[in-house]
Amino acid sequence: MMINCKEASRLLSEGLDRDLAPGMRAKLRFHLFLCTACSRVKQQFDFLHRAAAQYPGPDGDDDGPHKP
């Protein structure tokens, strides 16, 4: 059974918060292999993760960029 982008987007997010069942993980990986839209969304979720961890961003008036 193939999953669609809507289902894939949900699994992409949940995969960042818990371990997906191996079957789900395989379906997601297969979908990502074929789907440009979802591959972009995956990269964007990963970027969002890095960006949020660095919020509130560069520390302009102390000692240079804030590094967590």
Binding site: C5, L48, A53, Q54, P56, P65, H66
Partner: protein
């Protein structure tokens, strides 16, 4: 300039960071009185523990580290007193349907963000991110902030917000989808990169 460890922190130097700390606390608590309290407690803890400040990181980074604990305490306290009013709209992912066609494809093709890493060195990017986080519904924003800004695991978040794990995943899903869309419109689409 970073202070060397052992150097005494000037309370005026702490005060300079108050607006930024208040914004940070407001984003996660969505309640002015609670945010003010968390920042005030942070300032008190900072003055008491000034000798615990070990150069290396900036004063702001150090203050935010203290503030995170105060925010979590505050969220825990308020969810104990009154269970989070998670309305039906926030606990169901149905509002994500508009982003997809009936066959499950994206209604609007997600854009290619290229290499967005450079944004992380720009203050303006974080202002856009902040505006996007402020536009999320309350519990959605709180769950996202605890997960991605503060780095808690979902178990701790569910416990702090007194919600189920599946509700938690829905909140985080909505947050990521909405923030993705918001950044695409207001940063990537606005030529920020």
């Amino acid at each position: 300039m970073a202070l060397n460890s052992g150097e005494i922190l000037d309370p005026r130097d702490l005060d300079r960071h108050r607006p930024q700390l208040l914004k940070y606390a407001m984003l996660q608590l969505r309640n002015h009185a609670q945010a003010e309290d968390a920042v005030q407690e942070t300032m008190v803890a900072a003055i008491k523990g000034a000798q615990g400040f070990a150069g290396g990181s900036s004063v702001r980074t150090w203050l935010i580290g203290i503030l995170k604990h105060k925010i979590i305490d505050s969220i825990r306290k308020s969810s104990r007193e009154q269970s989070l009013d998670l309305d039906r709209h926030e606990s169901s992912p149905d509002d994500m349907d508009v982003l997809f066609k009936p066959d499950g494809h994206y209604a609007d093709m997600p854009a290619d963000w290229g290499n967005p890493e450079e944004a992380l060195s720009r203050q303006r990017f974080f202002e856009v991110l902040e505006e996007c986080m402020e536009s999320l519904p309350k519990a959605t924003a709180q769950a996202f902030a605890m997960r991605e800004v503060m780095g808690l695991d979902t178990g701790e978040i569910c416990e702090n917000l007194s919600i189920s794990a599946s509700n938690c995943w829905v909140l985080l899903y909505r947050a990521r989808m909405r923030l993705r869309e918001c950044l695409e419109r207001n940063w990537i689409g606005a030529g920020g990169r």
